[in-house]
Amino acid sequence: MEIQVRKEGSATIVAVSGKMDAVTAPDYEQRLRELLDQGAKTFVNDFSNLVYISSAGLRSILATAKALKSQDGALLFAGIKGPVKDVFEISGFGSLFQLHDTLDSALKSIG
């Protein structure tokens, strides 16, 4: 799994590629926790190159979302597809979060 972070306006774009599994998910959670501690509040997860996610990844996302919620932050998702989208839908995460087909659409929704 690789994580690339960049700022665009008020949004922090977190592009995650590869596999988010029980081995790698803690790295994602820790990285977002650090960004949150540095003051970032609006995150767009660009998952267009994420090919696999397990419940460990979902747990890290949920833990991050809970931490953000308490600080009035937001966690959006862009480009989810294939098996990752399947897992989001099956686990109910599709209705728990804002999912956008593209990064542009996610950024526009923030304004």
Binding site: V23, S54, K66, D86
Partner: protein, 139 residues
């Protein structure tokens, strides 16, 4: 093999190589990999609270399907008894646990879980042909 998270990639490689020989659809293989990860992680995290222990994974695939058997000698555990997560809960209310067992039960065609002597025996079966979740990526 020792039931440790750092051994997960090696266990998954073994199981995915076995499943790959059946030439099933790519999404199906991803789901199989996911189910096996969830089952192995359960053993690594919960079977041996007081130290290390072993996990054994065996795999058999033919025209009738793929059967994965995972055994450990840790504390008794029946993943079929774990409650489903509350799908209607919002972010604040949603519980963090229970998702792994739910994914196993949802994505495998058959799951049996039993105690044999001092062993937990989990058998996962995947039948040939598509499950609903295998083609849910159309929109």
């Amino acid at each position: 093999m020792e039931a440790r998270i750092e051994n997960l990639p090696a266990i998954l490689r073994f199981a995915v190589d076995c499943a790959d020989r059946l030439s099933w659809a790519k999404n199906r293989l991803a789901n199989i990999e996911l189910v096996i990860e969830e089952a192995v992680v359960n053993v690594c995290k919960y079977a041996y609270p007081e130290g290390d222990g072993a996990i054994e994974v065996s795999c058999h695939g033919d025209q009738n399907g793929l059967r994965i058997r995972i055994t450990d000698t840790g504390q008794p555990f029946d993943l079929l008894s774990v409650a489903d997560p509350d799908m209607n809960a919002d972010v604040e209310e949603r519980q963090i646990g229970g998702l792994g067992c739910f994914l196993i039960r949802t994505l495998a065609d058959d799951v049996t879980c039993r105690r044999e002597g001092n062993q937990n025996v989990l058998e996962l079966t995947f039948l040939p042909g598509k499950k609903k979740a295998d083609h849910a990526d159309g929109g």
